[in-house]
Amino acid sequence: MIAVGVLQNILDPAGPQAAHISRLWWLMFWVAAAVFVSVLSFLLVALVKRNRASTESSLTFGVATATAATVATLLVLLGATMFTQRSVASLGAASAVTIELTGHQFWWEVQYDDADPSRRVTTANEFHIPVGRPVVLKVTSRDVIHSFWAPNLTGKRDLIPGYTTAIWLQADRPDVFRAQCAEFCGKQHAHMALDIVAEPEDAFEKWLDGQRKPSQEPTDDAQLHGRDVFMKRQCVLCHQIRGTSANGLVGPDLTHLATRGTLAAATLPNTAGHLGGWIVNAQAIKPGSQMPPNPMTSDELQSLLAYLESLK
């Protein structure tokens, strides 16, 4: 079980691009600090100094020197920026993992590309990547503009309806990184996050294989009953559980819900209690989200939870 991720920090880079950018940040920071201190020092001296015998030509010389220094500093920063920009733009590798990321109000749809359509994987609000291998994210949106931002890995990229753009990222250490929507997208913009699980190659392949399978069949009565509850209610209108008759494409795919660390777009830990609360009245947790309230008897809810918890 993965806790709600908190790794969301520009200054703690875990990939080559974020590392390049954080180096640029520290360069900019120290240059800015030096400029700030020197300008304010001159200002302070100008305010308190006693001897005011400055000629116009010495003032001109001072201003010209300061301007030249400004231009030189800015040129250095421009050069450093161009250099960083080139390093960040592309990791270019044939072995890259390709993931299609689609924004929805207020969750993320994730698809792993594969030449063989039957091996494509669809999941939501969490994706896994192999450590040390470049990943291409192809991003777009189904409704309004969202923005994908995993600060520990790289800068952000907007998800714009009608456009598909690609960004590269790579994790250099196994960890769970949090990405959050960074473009205002409506009432629940605040609760639209996503976990990125970076893990060693073999663990990643194992996870991906697991995701390729259809959903697990119920193994006991409670789970069977739970599946009935799911199939007979409005759940099927929006959600898909591969291997069943639930084929809704509006909400997140639930085929392997129980393998995910979080619920409601990285808002709640994925526990039975939170899941129950989310199903019965999601509007109390994310007011304005698309998930409607689902009043049901305690018995129905327990069975439904048993079923959903079995979707490993």
């Binding site: 969301q8 305010l47 920009q85 009608g162 456009y163 473009e183």
Partner: protein, 654 residues
Amino acid sequence: MSEPDRELPPVVEDDAAMLERTWGDEPGIVGWITTTDHKRIGIRYLVTAFIFFLAGGVLAALMRYQLSRPENTFLSPDLYNQIFTTHGSNMMFLFAVPVTQALGIYFVPLMVGARSIAFPRLIAYSYWMYVGGGLMLWIPLFLNNGPDAGWFAYTPLSEILYSPMKRVDVWAQMITFTEVAALAIAVSLVTTVFKMRAPGMSLNRIPVFVWGMVVQSFMVIFAMPAVMIASTALILDRLVNTHFFDTERGGDPLLWQHLFWFFGHPEVYIIFIPGTALVSTFVTTFSRRHMFGYLAVVLSLVSTGFIGFGLWVHHMFATGIPQLGASFFTAASIIVAIPTGIQFFCWIATLWSGHPQLKTPLIWAMGFFWVFLIGGLTGVMLAAVPLDIQVHDTYFVVAHLHYVLIGGTVFPLFGAFYYWFPKFTGRMMNEKLGITSFILFFLGFNITFFPMHILGLHGMPRRIYTYLPETGWGTLNGLELIGVVLMTLGTLTFIVDAWMSLRAGVAAGNDPWLAGTLEWLTSSPPPAYNFLHPPTVAGREPVWDNPPDQPVVVGLRNDVRDVLVTHVMDGTPDHRTEFPDPSKWPLLTAMATSALFVGSIFTPRAVITCLLPLFVTMTGWFWPKKSGETGTQPWPIEHRTLPMPNEPPTGKAA
């Protein structure tokens, strides 16, 4: 400099009385409504904008309280979105631009030595349209119908499918209201500066503040139409089903962003260019010397105005701009730091070689140095694409923009209020209270906004109504609440000071700071006709530079609103022209325009039906006067020998 408090030419009593009858307003409510006096309208604009500043500040405090701890339920997401949208739109469209333009309305005619602003009825109309825009934004908020798609209203979130209520329509028409108002002022100010300057005020003698207003006005004229087109296209999308921005029917959401930021980035310079020009004014006055590097400073303002139009795309780096294009906008965004840097160096050089007196306006300008410098430096960081795509749309940007806008405009504005309060009212403000309010506001500002840089680096996005406790953002957000309290106290101290000074401040006299520009030549507050004897000037700081026998303008009629029109380049007299009387028509025209704008939200038919009242009121506005001897007159040939700078006067006022 010559002695600053030398005597004005002797007053001819008859003159003053007749001028008062000619230029004064009717007493009471009729005069209040019909006035075209730029000083009354300027004050009115200032006070209204300040009220919007306070109201927007209350919204900010509500947001800071909501965010002061994780998962706070003080505000619902729906209300929070209305509040942050209203806060941003209010501060941009109802406070920052109008308040700087209001200073322009009041002071540009005085500083160029004119009897009136150009197109005075247009200015009256502008004010009423501005009030309409303010009501348009605030009344719906109290009806739970405030705009909620952000002050940038990105499509497709702002399209009818995702924002089905009237909220976005309200926002779009509020834009139209305020932009009409802003454009009217810009046109008037440019005309005033180019055609109504005192004889002798060649281009290189125009005060820096006036230059700032000219640059701002030109930027308004070129930038505002972009957002008016964009908001009109948006409202057409929403109301009559066009599809400018609708992807599914061939529109493009990025078109909106280009149009919006083509306005939105220059908007930043529109807001702070007057602020930097104010700092130049205070630095000159309180250094007791002419501005060092006047030419460099003016050219910096002008070049900022040009470059400001070449970097809007840096708001869109995260959309996936091709690298070559992004590099161009990075370079432009970095270059714009150079003219601002030059201004900083010239201010320091002026203080360095002058005799700085730390009066309250200069102290607020020193606050500007600290705050605006930080905002400028983080601005250079944001110009760099790689860094920008990390901190874009985070609290780092929230910190940056408040350092730029509050630093670049609000600090100089408080200074301007202390500086010009004596001119507005004839009374001085209290220095001790002024310094107290500065310290409270300065500390509060930095405690509120500096931690936001760190929050942004730690991953906190903008425009979120709450956040999870695990993110660790709670501590700094909680700390910021202390800053909010201090800023509030600072603002209240300022209000108390202004109130007390208004009632019992020390009498100011014409020129309490011994400053050099023309507004200090006339009484405090100035008469309706501004100058008993319109001045001519012999230098950049006429009060300091004019010789004692400097001539005044003669030959203007006192029985009608006669003004002198001069040549653009060198300010030599061209002709005189008669200005219109006070009128109820600007208000009625504004009401007809408002009916059109408000009605259009509900039905496209309103656009057609409301054209009739608009036609009627505009006809009233432009109805020619009856009397024969009016309008533009060539400058009488005997006055061609009008005394020019450094020549002895040839006569008194007619």
